[in-house]
């Protein structure tokens, strides 16, 4: 009888713990997660979002499904874990271009190094004499909003001659675009080139180009858009369907923007004032606007990327000698700061900031700022420790 009682007690205690909430793990707060759609999508749009989500996060490529044979990683999600910034183990290397005259190393595997290879193959080596730069994967959120900022708005923010005399110019990258990319309504062109905005050098026109390129250059997967195999340099059959690429593009377009946390906290509000006060916001623009879109949830909306999507001279310390499009080697697109505080959740508990992940804290990232950002950095250095703390607290709330 005693045993029966013990057994029944154990059973009931299990049922009890099970029914209590802490035992069924609660979901993370919405503002802790980067993955998830913008609000206001229709049911049909949710379906396509989920298809893209699966292709982006769970579809792993293998030798059988077309991986490589040379590649950098086996899936989009390997580099953009939870749609957040990437870890240095998936850092990629681009090489072979030093100025607007284009990439001189295309025949030697440029512009991207596929240093990993399927068993039995060898990965690529950086050719002698090629300039190069290393890129750690950026956060992948709110991209649909960024895609919809009009060229006219970008040009209005740019100030190539620094007419307002604040020491901060900001320019657009003019680049050639592949024939499969459909130009947006109202796009501005100049000598056959268009304003490009994605990537650390702002050298990619839109999310379709970025996606087709990523499949091809990062994973070694050919598509109807990018049919040339990175290993053989020959056109081969598509290894992914056009529909899957479209789903992934839709997924990227409709990923929500990161939600700022602790917006009411006094430190955060004060930190934000300092951020504006010492001119960080001149490049890390708080608010941009989208134009028209066939996705109603994205059309004509304000959003807060903390970036102007323009290129800035960041000084000699951030000059790797490599570039894309018409950007100079020392020019970088203002890194969007939204989601900055959540970086450690996707970078294995650490910060790996700036284009190559060299900065291991937010402060370190600020201290690397030079060129157009030099005076803003100096203003930061002159802040009291308490004010620095407030500024960082604000940045972590993003």
């Amino acid at each position: 009888m005693r045993g029966l009682i013990i057994g029944v007690c154990v059973l009931f205690s299990i049922i009890f713990i099970v029914s209590c909430d802490s035992v069924m793990p609660a979901s993370l707060e919405e503002d802790q997660l980067l993955d998830g759609p913008v609000s206001g999508l229709t049911g049909a749009e949710h379906r396509q979002f989920l298809l893209g989500d699966a292709a982006f996060n769970t579809e792993i490529f293998t030798g059988q499904s077309g991986l490589g044979p040379v590649f950098v990683a086996t899936s989009c999600g390997s580099c953009h874990a939870g749609d957040g910034k990437g870890h240095p183990f998936t850092t990629l290397t681009r090489f072979g271009q030093s100025d607007a005259s284009g990439n001189k190393f295309l025949a030697q595997g440029g512009p991207q190094l596929q240093h990993r290879a399927l068993p039995g193959y060898s990965g690529e080596r950086l050719p002698d004499g090629a300039s190069s730069s290393r890129f750690v994967a950026p956060i992948n959120t709110g991209l649909g909003f960024m895609e919809l900022v009009s060229d006219v708005d970008l040009l209005a923010m740019a100030d190539p001659e620094d007419i307002d005399g604040d020491g901060i110019s900001g320019i657009v990258n003019w680049n050639t675009i592949p024939s499969y990319v459909k130009v947006a309504d109202g796009a501005v062109s100049h000598e056959g080139k268009y304003i490009t905005r994605f990537g650390k050098k702002a050298s990619v026109y839109n999310l379709l180009q970025q996606t087709a390129n990523a499949y091809n250059q990062d994973i070694g997967i050919t598509s109807s858009f990018e049919p040339v195999d990175v290993y053989s340099h020959l056109e081969v059959d598509p290894e992914i369907s056009t529909q899957t690429i479209n789903n992934v593009v839709f997924y990227l377009q409709t990923l929500k923007a990161p939600i700022q946390r602790s917006t009411e906290r006094e430190e955060v509000i004060k930190g934000k004032d300092l951020f504006v006060g010492i001119s960080c916001e001149k490049c890390h623009k708080q608010t941009l606007r989208t134009g028209n879109s066939h996705i109603a949830a994205l059309a004509n909306k304000e959003f807060h990327p903390y970036s102007d999507l323009l290129l800035h001279d960041m000084g000699s310390q951030l000059d790797d000698g490599y570039t894309e499009g018409t950007a100079k080697t020392y020019e970088w697109r203002t890194a969007p700061l939204w989601g900055l505080g959540l970086s450690p959740n996707s970078q294995g508990g650490s910060y790996y900031l700036l284009h190559d992940g060299r900065a291991h804290s937010i402060e370190e990232a600020i201290l690397w700022h030079g060129g157009e950002a030099a005076s803003s950095r100096q203003s930061y250095e002159q802040l009291s420790d308490a004010d620095k703390e407030l500024l960082i607290t604000f940045l972590k709330s993003l």
Binding site: G3, G7, V10, I17, V23, M24, S27, I60, G63, P119
Partner: protein, 409 residues
């Protein structure tokens, strides 16, 4: 004469429905009166079989079915009912020294049918038995002793099924034997079989994953590379203490040549496992554990995604809290149990950062099981699992409630 197979089939000394090991019995096959506590290696024969009259064919099987409710980081897919497996076995004695046994498994409601075991055993001497056909590679103990009704847990131990990878059987030949005295037993097994293939490091799990090799449709017809997999085990059992086993499995897994042309260097997979089980006499507490280490030669240029080293295991503690007549079942037992398991799919550090590679999990599974008869179990499990991705980002937390039934028939 102490026929080894008869010994295998005899009742365990302490079979009395503490379960998870020797709960099951041959019903019609004569018992050996000598010390014959069966070892893990005997598990394929140590099952309840039914035979009719004097026909030398015996048959049996088991079924498992469960209900699952799981939540991962607060997101639940709701309620699921499953029938993960139904297994049939047929054994026959062709001669007093020649036995045949086969085990056919219908997985996931019949979606997959596989022959898990089909071997002919010839006994030349208790220490020298020859076995050929589809054999169960003797790596660890769970692989040999995996029947659902023997366990108090709905899920099989993750490290043993996803690292080792139980149930893992292959076509091959080998020897086994057993020697015992009144208080000791020693057993060994040594087989050459077909082995793994490259899918263990190129699969959609995005990690080194030995079970991927089970998907190859050709593996029962030809070796992936012409290199045999060697599997060997020795086990020692002391009456009233328990059994320990140490086992090894290794071979070349990749297709290093084709048509006489060299494709790659030979790359090996090597696995070592230890297992033990014991019963604490006073409380009749049953403790069962197993741990395995996997080493795979992964090409360096392939990157760190597919690990070179893995390890993991589990420990089960099963405490009978009441035995005797419960609800009118005269030989029933009520157990409280707990499993702790751990697995690291990718042991090592990232070259780029010097930080530890994640891709690991641990889980705690408290359970209650009721055995109305030794061959039948109703079990309730609560599983709490913490797992980390390769980068070691904050763990995802999973909780699973399971109610399962499993029985020999």
């Amino acid at each position: 004469m102490k026929y080894i197979l008869v010994a295998c089939c005899c009742l365990g000394l302490m079979h009395v429905s503490i379960a998870q090991v020797d709960s099951s019995l041959f019903r019609r096959i004569p018992r050996d009166t000598s010390f014959g506590k069966s070892m893990n290696m005997d598990a394929v024969y140590n099952r309840p079989f039914l035979s009719v009259g004097k026909v030398p064919v015996a048959t049996g099987g088991y079924v498992e079915s469960d209900y699952t409710y799981s939540t991962m980081d607060g997101i639940s897919e709701g309620h699921t009912f499953r029938i993960p497996r139904l297994t049939l076995f047929i054994a026959s004695s062709l001669h007093r020294k020649i036995k045949f046994l086969t085990e056919v498994e219908f997985e996931d409601g019949g979606k997959e049918v596989s022959i898990e075991f089909a071997s002919l055993d010839f006994m030349f001497h208790p220490l020298v038995n020859f076995r050929g056909g589809i054999v169960m590679n003797p790596i660890g103990a769970f692989n040999q002793n995996h029947d659902g009704p023997k366990w108090e847990f709905v899920e099989r131990p993750v490290a043993m099924t996803q690292m080792l990878p139980a149930t893992w059987s292959n076509v091959g030949f080998g020897l086994f034997g057993k020697k015992y005295s009144s208080s000791w037993a020693f057993g060994y097994e040594l087989y050459l079989t077909n082995g793994f293939d490259e899918s263990i490091i190129t699969n959609t799990r995005n990690r080194t994953y030995l079970p991927a090799a089970k998907n190859s449709p050709e593996r029962f017809m030809e070796s992936s590379n012409g290199q045999p997999l060697v599997t060997g085990k020795v086990a020692l059992q002391k009456k009233s203490i328990g059994e320990v086993g140490i086992s090894y499995m290794g071979g070349v897994y990749n297709k290093f040549q084709d048509d006489g042309l060299v494709l790659d260097e030979k790359r090996r997979v090597d696995v070592v496992a230890v297992d033990f089980n014991t019963t604490i006499p006073v409380w009749k507490t049953r403790i069962i554990g197993e741990w395995a280490w996997v080493h795979v030669n992964v090409p360096l240029s392939y990157g760190p995604q597919y690990g070179h080293r893995q390890y993991g295991g589990f420990i089960d503690v099963v405490q009978p809290v009441k035995s005797g007549t419960i609800f009118g079942f005269s030989r029933s037992v009520l157990n409280a149990a707990c499993r702790i398991e751990y697995g690291d799919w990718n042991v090592g550090k990232f070259e780029e950062t010097g930080t530890t590679i994640g891709d690991c999990f641990y889980a705690v599974v408290p359970a209650v099981s009721f055995r109305p008869t030794p061959q039948t179990v109703i079990r309730v499990n609560y599983r709490r699992e913490w797992s980390r991705d390769i980068i070691n980002n904050p763990s995802s937390r999973t909780a699973i409630i399971q109610l399962g039934i499993s029985s020999y028939f």
